[in-house]
Amino acid sequence: MTDGKTVTGNGSAVSGALPDAGSMAGLRLRGLIRKEALQIMRDPSSISIAFVLPVILLLLFGYGVSLDAKHVPVALVIENPTTETSSFSVSLLNSPYFAPMVMRDRPTAVKALIAGDAAAIVVLRSDFERQLLSSAGAPIQVIVNGADANTARIISGYMQGAWQKWLEQYALDKGQILTPPVVMEQRVWFNAEVRSRNFLVPGLIAIIMTLIGTLLTAMVVAREWERGTMEAIMVTPVRIGEILLGKLIPYFLLGMGSMVLSTAMAVWLFGVPLRGSFGVLLAVSTLFMLASLGMGLLISTIARSQFVAGQVAIIVAFLPAFILSGFIFDITSMPTAVQFITHIIPARYFVSSLQTLFLAGTVWPIVLTNSAALCLIAAIFLGLTRRKTHKSLE
């Protein structure tokens, strides 16, 4: 054991002149960190969690996940083809959002909808042309598959756009200019093209750091408890604070390393803008890393078995970071009770800071309130770990 050597090496010095306490502590800590670093290096799974997993996650989310529906397959039922209906189907064809499949009757379209081959049905009834001239206007029936409510909502939004475009074109063909009373202009700040990648990739950094800070740390320390090596370290003159620091520092560096890697990939590979200051990003990440490490250490101290520690880490850290942090799902739309729960989840504060720092810039009110919350959570977790570890020795 590496730290064993360090300790015996010091033992001879003790018999002579006593070295001052500070340098002893420094040596012990160095030994512990070295031991931990060696352990990380020797187990390929630790390195994989720190560097391979982030890369896989970033690639998956950057390329694979998108909330932006494009080329939505639509079953377009034209019961009686005329010039008007074909001008409508052309406007659907020209829209980047739809891939219309023209059909002659409803039953075929319904079959396609149920089989999942079409996400929506658009019906132009046989009397479409005649109805266009009536005072109520011709109905364009749109049936969306509501099973996926979000996609259904986005499709009906796109459909509204296509319909408006067609109305303009239709008026133009008749030699008129369509002037709706009120025209809505939209400006999307910070993310003009409304790319979901710009929204998801920054938040992903919080997930990755949670994996390292909480899951990996909890498992590694729980293994020491399980194997009894924790007790072995405790009988050495090493202090508990030093043991904890010895665990914290290597995993802290690992986590920060993967954060820098993720940021680099976000900016250079996925073209996500980093509009805020990198220094501030680093500072907030430090606080979050401390909070997740504190959580990981606390879990391992309480669970003391890898099986339980792994499960608990997934449930109290990983999944909440995924679902309750605002990473994908909007917190303000959650029920009040759930919104309340999100306040005790460190990832919530970090995801909000990340999204703002990347897309909006350094907005101090957001950065400072989130940092304060992260500081508090980190202090609580680290403090609790310190106390729990102490008690168990008695």
């Binding site: 996940v65 149920i114 202009e185």
Partner: protein, 369 residues
């Protein structure tokens, strides 16, 4: 031989059950997750924090604002009076939407010039931004129709009549909760099976198991059955809660759902045992489970539709058992998916299960010899 296997199954059950901590871990967290995530995981957007920047004193502008005030989708949080204040409310997320009505709005409307209203949306959350714009444009369209009608002008020659099948109120919960059946069954079975062999190897009892007269496939069965039983029970509990607690309609047949659940768990067990047999420590097993679970969930259509993914990644999802089970579980719950369409999802899962279990058996044998 069956006696031996029975004893092994009993032993595996005991290994999970006798440990109080692992017992709690397989029962309590999935239920908590179901409840919390059932309420939290939603793409629905409501009570959008909205700031009004109205420079117009006319009555028409007030009427338009009143429509936003009356909609449950929007919540007016502040009224601003200067251009610079837009950034002051959007930047710190005090408001997600600013509605800017210019000075000439009512005047333009009266002389039938297009009256412009500007919607400034926070794009940090891109999905929310899109939905907010969708809601806003519907309110503006309604306002337009009403205005045309009261001013005796012709309505547009065609109108959209949008209806939503299977989920008329477009509740995200109806989409997410059946998905959670697939998600939690995956996580629990995967972790359970991935850790079984790895734990024994780490503790050293795997060698003891090897000197017994068990053959590899017997060990395989012994390890699979408890995971299958626990997975089935866990899945059923979630289905019951989905129906009776969350009120998600269950429109299709249970036999098809269970056929799907069985093959799904079988496929996951195969992957879990493969992971378990190649990892030397529990940490490696957890990592392996993770490396499978995370991409499997992301590339399954659980949160984001497969149709939005690039073609290459769409092809990759074909080997993902969760993809097929999600179609079955959502189809059974919401659409009452016909049996013919369920078969289309069943055979790929059966194929995946056969492949992964054979693979696991092969790796076991290799480990044993």
């Amino acid at each position: 031989m069956w006696n031996r296997i029975r004893a092994l199954i009993a032993k595996e059950f005991l290994a999970v059950w006798k440990d109080k901590k692992s017992r709690v871990v397989i029962i309590v967290p999935p239920l908590i997750q179901l409840l919390v995530f059932g309420y939290a995981a939603s793409f629905d957007v409501n009570h959008v924090a909205t700031a009004i920047y109205n420079e117009d004193t006319g009555i028409a502008a007030r009427e338009l604002v009143a429509r936003f005030e009356g909609s449950p989708s929007f919540k007016i949080v502040s009224r601003i009076s200067r251009e610079a204040e837009i950034a002051e409310v959007i930047d710190p997320k005090d408001a997600s939407l600013v509605i800017h009505i210019g000075q000439t709005f009512s005047r333009d409307l009266m002389v039938r010039r297009p009256a412009r209203v500007q919607m400034i949306v926070d794009g940090r959350e891109s999905n929310t931004a899109l939905i907010i714009l969708g809601y806003a444009s519907r309110i503006v369209a309604d306002f337009n129709n009403e205005w045309l009608r009261t001013h005796g002008e012709a309505l547009p020659p065609a109108r959209l009549v949008v209806r939503s099948w299977f989920n008329p109120n477009l509740e995200s919960q109806w989409f997410i909760i059946p998905g959670i059946v697939a998600l939690l069954t995956l996580v629990v079975t995967m972790v359970l099976t991935a850790l079984t062999v790895a734990r024994e190897r780490e503790v050293g009892t795997f060698e003891q198991l090897l000197v017994t007269p068990f053959r590899p496939f017997e060990i395989l069965i012994g390890k699979s059955v408890p995971a299958m039983v626990i997975g089935m029970v866990e899945g059923s509990v979630i289905i019951v809660i989905a129906v009776f607690w969350f009120g998600v309609p269950l429109r299709g047949g249970l036999s098809m759902l269970y056929a799907g659940l069985f093959l799904y768990i079988l496929a996951v067990i195969g992957v879990g045992l493969m992971v378990s047999s190649i990892s030397r420590t529990q940490q490696q097993a957890i990592l392996g489970a993770f490396l499978f679970v995370v991409p499997a969930v992301i590339l399954s259509g659980f949160a984001t539709p497969i149709a939005n993914m690039p073609a290459l990644i769409q092809d990759l999802t074909l080997v993902n058992p969760m993809r097929y089970f999600l179609i079955i579980v959502r189809g059974t719950f919401l659409e009452g998916l016909p049996a013919v369409l369920v078969y289309d999802q069943l055979w790929p899962m059966a194929l995946i299960a056969a492949t992964t279990l054979t693979g696991a058996g092969w790796m076991f044998r290799r480990r044993l010899n």
